[in-house]
């Protein structure tokens, strides 16, 4: 683990459409344990934002409490961030989004922050289809308090202390699907090739985009008896297929086998191209996604990749019918009706 990042950058670093280099998307040096899956996810977010040419200050980073919720410090240093209270990031993100619909909201949470203390807020932010990307960095344990089981730990899975978990795990991807999430994916922190396009698609999706990322805890939950350690996950991974995210105005270059590929065009014209590994998968069907998750689990496999998306979803602002101008940019002229209106009101109350 490094504490010093060299200031030197190659002058010919590649620049994106806005003229930013990757460096402009980096954050402070991570203070997480060396080898933590979460750092790979931070790196994937940096890469995705750089490649999408998002102006870094147009992103708001939201998180709760826990190891995962600390990570917004470690990416997008030129963005505002909000490390709120435990399990309550969804409500803070909802308020922030209501105030300014023009920013991109990147929420990072953990399995404790979402599946236990924050379960209530998580379910409701899904229902409201808030326009945001919500990433759960899922390691099946509480890292900051030294390795207690979380609610996503599988039955029989054991942490460093060796005691197996007895309780039914909560599958956040299934819950998101049931509650009407309009974009649901699962990935693995060790699979950058899959994760980066998923993040790009999630950010571009209008509505609630959920990615459950298995992200092993190297310190407390990376032993042979854990089902969320690197070894186990690598051995039991199955992917829905290869996902390509193609931004608007770019040629689709990849070639796909007939009958095994699916294209989804997003509201901004960009395209998600899925090369399916399992012909059973129908990403516009919640039922198909839920069934496949179960089927693979029965085979002791973790199904990753894009599971479901509804590219025509209406986000909270569209449902509420709020002004296209961000509410925070409205001034007294639009907001304050003035004394004349009050005079009439007073008269009606006599």
């Amino acid at each position: 683990m490094t504490y010093i990042r060299p200031a030197f950058r190659h002058p010919d670093l590649p620049r994106n459409d806005l003229g930013f280099t990757r460096k402009d998307y980096e954050g402070a040096i991570s203070t997480l344990c060396a080898g933590c899956g979460h750092d790979s996810i931070s790196a994937a977010i940096v890469q995705a934002c750089f490649e999408l040419s998002i102006a870094p200050h147009k992103v708001a980073k939201m998180s709760g409490i826990g190891c995962s919720s600390k990570t917004p410090t470690y990416f997008l240093g030129n963005s505002h961030g909000f490390n709120s209270v435990h399990g309550r990031m969804p409500s803070v993100a909802t308020g922030a989004n209501l105030a300014n619909r023009d920013l991109i909201y990147v929420g990072v949470s953990g399995d404790g922050d979402t599946a236990s203390i924050g379960m209530g807020q998580f379910t409701h932010v899904v229902r409201r289809n808030l326009n945001m990307m919500y990433v759960v960095e899922n390691n099946g344990c509480y890292g900051l308090t030294k390795g207690q089981d979380s609610a996503t730990a599988d039955i029989g899975s054991a942490s460093k202390k060796g005691e197996p978990n007895h309780f039914e795990p909560i599958d956040l991807a299934s819950i998101a699907l049931q509650l009407g999430a309009t974009f649901v994916a699962r990935s693995f922190s060790g699979d950058r090739e899959q994760l980066v396009p998923l993040i790009k698609a999630a950010i571009s999706h209008r509505g609630f985009a959920f990615i459950d990322v298995i992200s092993p805890c190297v310190t407390f939950n990376n032993n042979p008896k854990s089902t969320k350690g690197y070894e186990h996950v690598r051995d039991h991974l199955a992917a829905t297929g290869t996902v390509d995210y193609v931004p608007f105005k770019q040629e689709i270059s990849a070639e796909y086998e007939q009958g095994q590929s699916k294209e989804v065009t997003l509201h901004d014209g960009s395209v998600v191209h899925l090369h399916k590994a399992d012909p059973e998968l129908n990403i516009s069907s919640r039922r198909s996604a839920l069934r496949l998750i179960k089927d693979y689990k029965a085979k002791d496999q973790i199904l990753t990749g894009l599971l479901f998306m509804d590219e025509n979803s209406q986000d909270l602002h569209e449902i509420l019918g709020t002004s296209k101008t961000p509410l925070r940019d409205l001034g007294a002229a639009e907001l304050c009706p003035g004394q004349k209106v009050l005079d009439k009101l007073n008269e009606s109350l006599r």
Partner: protein
């Protein structure tokens, strides 16, 4: 038999069953007196229930303009057999008991010292209407008609109210007027009208309006520029957001696009409601929530975050009787301490205490200016009495030249011109209030990380004890700045500086306190009053306590919470403050305040002895 005789000065109470449509009839009754130029203070006393339980509506008429609860009932309008036995007992000797005489009264309930006035409402209805629902609804209107004869209410005022109420539904006007007439004629034919208590037209209300505090607060939020409201339904605060919704639909729809210049979200619970307010305020919108006691408990963690991370937060607490679920539909001022120090760790919050609907309007609007100027939570503490009862109030006024005080926020140009590093928590101006930036302002400057953990002046995480202490000290400095920004107390120096007795009160104790003090003044006991309108306390509160030998504090809760707050925050000994308490769920009455003051001044040993000499000589 003695008969209470009074013109424009009596209390009438309606005993109804909830869910029977009595509320609109009772409102019509009260408003008719108001339109006759008479000051009134109607109070709903209702259960936490939708249908079938007893509910009361008490109206005090007083041409001098005393609006607090007086105590006692001169006339009872009994429409509920369930509560009848108790209702009969409540009538003052010489008073009147109005009841439905379609069935004979239970003789065991009779009293020989009050006047029974029976009108066969049910029979009259059955004769006139065939439909059962109509029979019930018009029964209410018929008793209003009968009261018009009995109390000398101008009949044209009532018919005028009917026309106003059913504007656009003209078909309903005639049958309602007919019902009024049925009641009027029956009473006029069978009783000597008017009774000993009656009304006469006066010009005693001027340009005042009749509005409940919650509606006034919702208008304050609209005028104050709130765009985001997040809430969770809870009595008695629900009508704040209902009002906001209603008036936004009228006043905040963009005329061109039809889109909304506001957003209202019904949250999953109070935690989420305040979380949304904090998120929206952090991002530069004016946002608020409204709740009651249980919501305050749930919001406490987030209030600590907003205090420590310095995020403007506006919260309206319409207090009800606690603890726990308590008496959810009864009034109290029992969240004072919970709000003042909400959340773990060292926290203090700015509080506002309105006493009238106009103040609910003004203070709600002001709360946004204060919250943004101070970058901290501001809680307006009203209560069920003020929030849910129609209350006479000076008209609502807005200065069209007024500008929103958005506080210290750097914009893109200011950040661009800045050569030094932006420090989110740097005390640049020496008033303890730092500068903030909204997300998305500048590509490379002004971004910072908001957190509930300790951090240095540049918003960088730190557990360095010196940095932590420095930050906590700065928050105290900001607290001092707040003392001169919150509304000043209202002091009535009745004795022109010579007074030995003072009364401190706040919120809805105002009307009853001022009336009690008035009646004592008539008896030669001069008392000065100070009404607290904001917290932190202004230095004049300290001075007032210092200047008076005996100081009473009126609190509508069991534990004398305002007194505790005064003891905690001012340089006074607990022995300097004598409590007058009321916490039975109904608003405090002038009689009670008067009696308690007299008892102490006479030296009746009912309260802890005051450290200074007793002021017997002033009695």
């Amino acid at each position: 038999m003695k008969r209470i005789e009074a013109v424009n000065d009596f209390v009438i109470k309606f005993a109804n069953v909830n869910g029977t449509g009595s509320a609109s009839a009772n409102n019509m009754f009260a408003k008719s007196l108001f339109r006759m130029g008479l000051p009134i203070s109607p109070k709903n006393i209702f259960p936490s229930n939708i249908q079938g339980l007893p509910t009361w509506y008490e109206v005090r008429v007083n041409e001098k303009g005393y609006l607090g609860r007086r105590g006692g009932v001169d006339m009872m309008v009994c429409m509920n057999p369930q509560s009848m036995a108790k209702d009969i007992q409540e009538v003052e000797s010489g008073g009147y008991f109005f009841y439905d005489s379609s069935k004979p009264l239970d003789l065991r309930m009779m009293r020989s010292d009050i006047h029974f006035i029976g009108v066969p409402l049910k029979d009259l209805c059955q004769r006139e209407y065939s439909d059962a629902r109509q029979q019930q609804l018009f029964r209410n209107i018929i008793y209003v008609g009968a009261l018009s004869a009995l109390l000398d209410i101008e009949f044209e005022v009532l018919t005028g109210l009917v026309s106003d109420q059913f504007r656009g539904k003209e078909k309903l006007i005639t049958p309602n007027v007919r019902a009024l007439e049925i009641g009027y004629h029956y009473a006029a034919e069978h009783y000597q009208c008017p009774l000993g208590i009656r009304v006469e037209r006066r010009d005693a209300v001027g340009d005042q309006i009749l509005i409940d505090g919650n509606t006034a607060a919702s208008l304050g939020a609209i005028y104050g520029g709130a765009t985001v409201a997040a809430w969770y339904p809870i009595t008695p605060s629900t009508s704040v957001v209902d009002g906001f919704d209603k008036y936004c639909k009228r006043l905040r729809i963009d005329p061109g696009s039809g889109s909304k210049n506001y957003a209202i979200v019904q949250a999953e619970d109070e935690l989420a409601a305040i979380g949304m307010v904090i998120g929206a305020s952090w991002n530069g919108a004016r946002a608020f929530t409204a709740t009651s006691g249980p919501g305050i408990s749930l919001m406490s963690e987030f209030l600590g975050l907003a205090y420590f991370a310095e995020i403007p937060t506006v919260l309206i607490d319409v207090q009800r009787a606690g603890p726990s679920t308590g008496m959810p539909t009864r009034t109290q001022q029992s969240d004072v301490l919970a709000c003042a120090y909400a959340s773990h760790g060292d926290t203090k919050h700015v509080l506002l205490f309105p006493s009238t609907p106009r103040e609910c309007f003004e203070m709600t609007a002001e709360a946004f200016d204060l919250a943004e100027s101070l970058q901290t939570p501001v809680i307006m503490l009203t209560d069920l009495d003020l929030g849910m009862n129609d209350t006479m109030s000076p008209p609502l006024v807005w200065d069209d030249k007024r500008e929103y005080q958005r506080g210290k926020v750097f914009n893109e140009e200011q950040l661009e011109a800045m050569s030094e590093r932006f420090g989110r928590y740097l005390d640049v101006d020496g008033d303890g209030i730092p500068y903030r930036t909204y997300p998305g302002t500048h590509p490379t400057k002004g971004a910072f990380f908001t957190r509930g953990t300790s951090r240095d002046e540049y918003a960088v995480y730190t557990e360095d004890g010196d940095a932590y202490e420095k930050n906590m000290q700065r928050l105290l400095k900001k607290w001092d700045t707040a003392k001169n920004l919150v509304p000043m107390p209202e002091i009535i120096d009745a004795s022109k500086g010579g007074g030995k007795v003072g009364v401190i009160h706040f919120g809805t104790s105002r009307e009853a306190t001022l009336e009690a003090v008035d009646t004592l003044a008539a008896e030669g006991i001069g008392i000065d009053t100070l009404r607290i309108k904001g917290f932190p306390f202004h230095k004049s509160v300290d001075a007032f306590i210092e200047q008076h030998d005996t100081v009473f504090v009126v609190d509508q809760n069991r534990d004398a919470q305002m007194r505790t707050l005064l003891v905690n925050e001012c340089l006074v000994s607990p022995r300097d403050l004598i409590s007058i308490l009321n916490y039975n769920g109904t608003p405090i009455s002038a009689r009670k305040i008067r009696e308690e003051i007299i008892a102490v001044l006479r030296g009746d040993n009912v309260r802890p002895i005051h450290k200074k000499k007793m002021v017997k000589e002033s009695v």
